[in-house]
């Protein structure tokens, strides 16, 4: 077992990038940014990691540099948040279209306006459809672990997709947690040197990012769509291999006290840990409540979700972002997953904790209370913004 060290989660993420022997790091250094690249710039400057560190003038350039570097066959890394991700968003679609296995950590933070720096998932939802593998993690250990998991998955010849590790900004990125560091020899074994399928090289000229006429564009997108959906077995395989190495097994959908629960809370990201405390309290009070956590956001695990959700009578889906004018984005997906089933549970949707507002265990209990009452009264598809002063 590796050494357990107390450290800030962002620093642990940077250490993971170092252990993952990344070749190129490109990032915009100023707000909104985390200590991840700050620490990486020190690591590279100190000669602890043999990598090129590009300190660029914008997030648009940060990801563009990653595109160029990944196209030559380099293992590349970047990270950003909120408005930075917005500026980067144009390039996110290009990365997945070119099938470059770049890994990015997004410390999820609010999009303006009003101007805000705190945590929610509005940035992640803005680029929901960009075609990357998208993980949501719950604590610092999972951030650290998923750096290795992401590279091994992304670089697999049968996958070749970029991956985003979404971690809640501040709630995770700026807190100190115990992190079990994995020995370097194990990492080297788990994560072999990246062998690109195609790369830019003067000896073997190729064209990347070519123009596609309407007569072929749909075929390119079909290929991309099938490839991302087909990456699921590899994603599971890498999680299994990682679990065999560390004892920490991850799944697309994870549960807590869910087996016999009538009511299931559904969360994504760091909400999961807090909600599990609330579930314990409700179980102690004799209530039939469990928790379902969505770890894999894309490709969306429809089948895994259905297996758990269809056993419950009602789901209380808690989004941490709004789709203004519709319901929460996670609830949309959950409802879509369940629509084809005859005996489907009611889905009550709250948006909670936007812009970093605290959601403590009593808040989860209040949401379950409210949902159970509303559903009992026949409001089976409710949607509301939790905790708003009237």
């Amino acid at each position: 077992m590796g050494k357990r060290v107390g450290m800030e989660v962002s620093i642990a993420a940077a250490e993971a990038v170092k252990q993952g022997n990344v070749d190129v790091v490109s990032a915009y250094p100023i707000t909104p940014q985390t200590h991840i690249v700050e620490h990486l710039s020190e690591i590279v400057a100190n000669g602890e990691l043999d990598a090129e560190f590009f300190c660029v003038e914008s997030e648009h350039s940060a990801l563009s540099v990653c595109v160029g570097a990944a196209a030559t066959g380099a293992r590349t890394f970047t990270c950003t948040s909120s408005q930075g991700l917005a500026l980067m968003s144009e390039i996110t679609y290009i990365v997945s279209g070119l099938r470059l296995p770049i890994v990015m950590i997004v410390a999820n933070r609010t999009l303006s306006a009003p101007l805000s720096i705190w945590n929610d998932h509005s940035d992640a939802m803005m680029i929901r459809d960009c075609g990357w593998i998208q993980y949501f993690v719950e604590n610092g250990q999972e951030v650290y672990d998923h750096v290795f998991i992401s590279y091994r998955t992304a670089e697999n010849r049968e996958v070749l997709f970029p991956a985003i590790i979404n971690m809640d900004g501040f709630t995770l990125s700026h807190v100190i947690e115990p992190i079990e560091m994995i020995e370097q020899e194990k990492i080297d074994q788990f994560l072999p040197v990246y062998q690109p399928l195609h790369r830019l090289h003067p000896d073997h000229p190729v064209t990347m990012g070519a123009f596609a006429l309407p007569s072929i564009f749909a075929e390119t997108k079909k290929a991309q769509e099938v490839a991302l959906r087909s990456s699921m077995p590899k994603i599971l395989e890498v999680w299994k291999a990682f679990g065999d190495m560390t004892g920490r097994y991850y799944r697309p959908i994870e549960t807590y006290q869910a087996e016999d629960a009538d009511t299931l809370l559904v969360t994504m990201g760091s909400f999961g840990e807090t909600a599990s405390v609330a579930v314990d309290q409700m179980r102690a009070a004799g209530r039939s409540v469990g928790l379902m956590k969505i770890r894999l956001w894309r490709p969306f695990p429809f089948d895994d979700l259905k297996k758990v959700a269809l056993r419950a009578k009602q789901l209380v889906v808690i989004d941490r972002a709004m789709s203004v004018g519709a319901c929460g984005p996670v609830a949309s997906e959950v409802k879509a997953a369940l629509y084809g089933s005859d005996q489907r549970p009611s889905v009550y949707n709250f948006v909670a904790g936007i812009s970093g507002r605290d959601v403590a265990p009593p808040d989860f209990i209040k949401m379950v209370d409210k949902a159970e009452i509303e559903i009992g009264e026949g409001n089976k598809e409710g949607y509301e913004l939790y905790g708003v002063r009237e």
């Binding site: 279209g97 470059l100 195609h198 990347m208 070519a210 006429l213 072929i216 075929e219 290929a223």
Partner: protein
């Protein structure tokens, strides 16, 4: 040798749509979306060759009568239409593209 883009199935595409055959752009007719097409007025043409020289795609071929004939699936010709070229008025003018 490649084939027309309308014949490719999604299963045949390379990962990331990488083009593995350098220079195969010459085999594709990419410029057929014009609504106006440039036409050469041979009476005004002074055979100066500027259209050939300025075209980034080298899309002109010299005909037997010494006219530079544009391959309109590639050439833009835009720079010379209705603009004077030495020593007089432009030999190129626009015509609405109805049937080719």
């Amino acid at each position: 040798m490649t084939k027309p883009e309308s014949e490719w199935t999604w299963k045949e595409l390379t990962v990331g749509n990488v083009v593995l055959e350098p220079g195969n752009a010459s085999q594709y007719r990419t410029g057929d979306w014009k609504t106006l097409k440039p036409v050469l007025n041979k009476e005004l043409c002074v055979h100066c060759g500027l259209c050939y020289i300025y075209c980034p795609d080298m899309a002109y071929n010299l005909s037997e009568e010494n006219y530079f004939i544009a391959d309109l699936s590639i050439a833009r010709v835009v720079a010379f239409v209705q603009r004077n070229v030495p020593p007089g008025p432009s030999p190129w003018y626009w015509r609405r593209r109805n049937n080719g």
